[in-house]
Amino acid sequence: MNIIVCLKPAPDPKRWDSIQLDPLTKALQREGIPSVLGPLDKRALEQGLRIKEKHGGKVAVVAMAPPSAKDNLLEALAMGAHEAYLLSDRAFAGSDTWATSIVLAKGIRKLGGFDLILCGSYSLDGSTGHVGAQLAEFLGVPNVNQVVAVESIAGEMLRTKSIVESGYRILETCLPCLITVTREINTPRFTSLFGVIEAESKPLITWMAGDLGISPEDVGFSGSPTQTGDVFLPEMKRQVQMLDGEPEEMVQEIIRKIRQALG
């Protein structure tokens, strides 16, 4: 099976508290915060690897990201992916989900045919959860979002269990298709030292806008249907009244406040 996993390296959440907003330019300052593969990216890759181990084939990873994301792709190769493709161009900066999906679709077309594409159900930073479905739309394949289990792959049909508010749905989808995965689906493997060494000799290819036949004005800031306007750091301030005293006193106070709240 030809399996493709889409990854989105994003700033490390452990360092998000250091993200600053320049009050004048309204630009986000995120220098010095390294990018990481999110837990859902890893789960998508893990699932791809497991499917390949069961059904044969290969796993390619694709990311639209700045050049610094090479390290994240090396990690993916170390986990077991066969080849990595970095779609990177200044023109891609500022892409919304529509433009991102166009770029990914062009990149995946360039790779050739595929049987299954896996993505995390949402990224760490933007967290829209929309790219999977939009990418599937541009590639003309069905999608299944928020998959918690791949139940079977047989005769060009994929059976999955996915989340809905009321519980789960079991869907049967024709291949080729795209799925997005949730944290429930698996526990990703760690990279081994051997994997890290092997990764260095696996193909890691960078494609720019020109390689993909994309004109800069069709993507990025200029081509995206949505634009980001005002950006602000929200504040949620209430006038806190601290309660203190011995535990028994605190408990009585708390009970008073509970009563007041519930009227």
Binding site: T97, W98, S162, I163, L233, R238, I258
Partner: protein
């Protein structure tokens, strides 16, 4: 909007459900190139009206659909236009009446056996055709699993912008929809605009808007044919497994007791559960308890989880990072208990107690039990 695109896409969209097999790279590339070409700027003047996608399951409208009607009404007033609800299904006429009573001026009703259960491709097909025919300026959908799936696919099909999990919606001086969304887990809020494309699409989570009061409806129901060709289905819903609601829904409870990383271990988590129980409330939590498995996804409160507005929220061992507090900012009363006096949660609380929760919560539970049951 772009009738040409439909032709260009090699019969993939209009009126067919059959699976497009991946052929040569050539053919595929031209489809995507066609998409880029069709990313044209429509004549904005021709696009009017605020639409809401009404999500229904098994003959019931979801609450969030009615909440979105309230939001749509506010926007419609500012844009001096009307609200329409989009309802797909089979045998759901009665829901159309309900939508009218909650403020829709019009319901676009599309009924077909194939639409009885939500399925991405048929729903995307029907909604996209409706959009191209009737040209709304704004289209709101619930940020539920199915709503988000539909929104994303439709926005891609009709080549427009889509924002996710809006926490605020308003109209600016240019008559554009301002869509406020969280990023970086809610640490940053951004206002998104979709200036040159239509419709301006946005998804909104349940609980962000309040549903209004129903009144006598004066609107109309407009039926639309589904235009679905029977053919080989590329996707089938085999089964829907309803999960028994073993846990109380946090978005419906008057009282929510939530725990965070500060609880420390599974054993001590029971104090959160017991306090919720004695207050007849629901149990919620932040991301670390979810990662630990003390709560399920549906109990997580915050930017990536649920927005709640209980009468009383008690947060125990929660540091109060913005990713979480965005989910509780509309709670009536917030009581925070944390042994770190510098915890951010105290900035977002009405009442704060700096203490090891183990010293206070067991006692609190005892006292509340006594008051519940004075004879015991």
């Amino acid at each position: 909007m772009n009738a040409d695109y439909m032709e260009n896409s090699e019969g993939r969209t209009q009126g067919t459900l059959s699976q497009e097999r991946e052929t040569s790279g050539q053919a595929g590339t031209s489809t995507i190139s066609a998409k880029i070409c069709e990313n044209l700027r429509p004549n904005l003047e021709e696009w009017k009206g605020i639409w809401v996608f009404a999500e229904q399951e098994e003959g019931c409208l979801s609450e969030v659909s009615l909440e979105l009607l309230s939001a749509a009404k506010l926007l419609a007033r500012k844009r001096m236009t009307e609200v329409s609800a989009v309802l797909l299904g089979h045998g759901v006429q009665i829901l159309a009446d309900q939508l009218l009573s909650y403020g829709a001026n019009r319901v676009f009703l599309v009924e077909h056996p194939a639409l009885e259960k939500f399925s991405t491709l048929p729903y995307t097909q029907v909604v996209s055709v409706l959009i191209k025919k009737r040209r709304p300026e704004i289209f709101l959908l619930p940020a539920t699993s199915l709503g988000s799936d539909l929104a994303a696919r439709v926005a891609a099909r009709v080549n427009t912008g889509l924002s996710a999990h809006c926490t605020q919606l308003d109209i600016n001086d240019k008559g554009e929809l301002m869509q406020v969304v969280p990023a970086f887990g809610g640490k940053v809020m951004a206002t998104i605009l979709c200036q040159k494309h239509r419709p301006q699409m946005a998804t909104v989570r349940p609980g962000v808007f309040r549903k209004g009061e129903p009144h006598e409806s004066r609107g109309t129901i407009e039926r639309f044919p589904a235009e679905l060709e029977p053919g080989q289905l590329s996707q089938k819903v085999l089964e829907i497994q309803r999960q028994k609601k073993a846990v109380r829904a946090i978005e419906e409870a008057d009282v929510v007791v939530a725990g965070g990383a500060g609880i420390g271990n599974q054993e001590d988590w029971k104090w959160v559960e017991r306090l919720a129980e004695v207050l007849n409330g629901a149990v919620g939590g932040t991301r670390p308890p979810l990662d630990e498995g003390w709560i399920s996804e549906g109990q997580m409160i915050g930017q990536s989880g649920k927005t709640i507005r209980p009468k009383l929220y008690i947060g125990i061992g929660i540091s109060g990072v913005i990713q979480h507090t965005v989910g509780i900012q509309d709670a009536k009363v917030i009581i925070a208990i944390n042994n770190d006096p510098k915890a951010a949660i105290f900035q977002s609380a009405d009442f704060g107690v700096v203490t090891d929760f183990r010293k206070v919560i067991p006692l609190l539970i005892e006292e509340l039990k006594k008051r519940n049951n004075p004879s015991a």
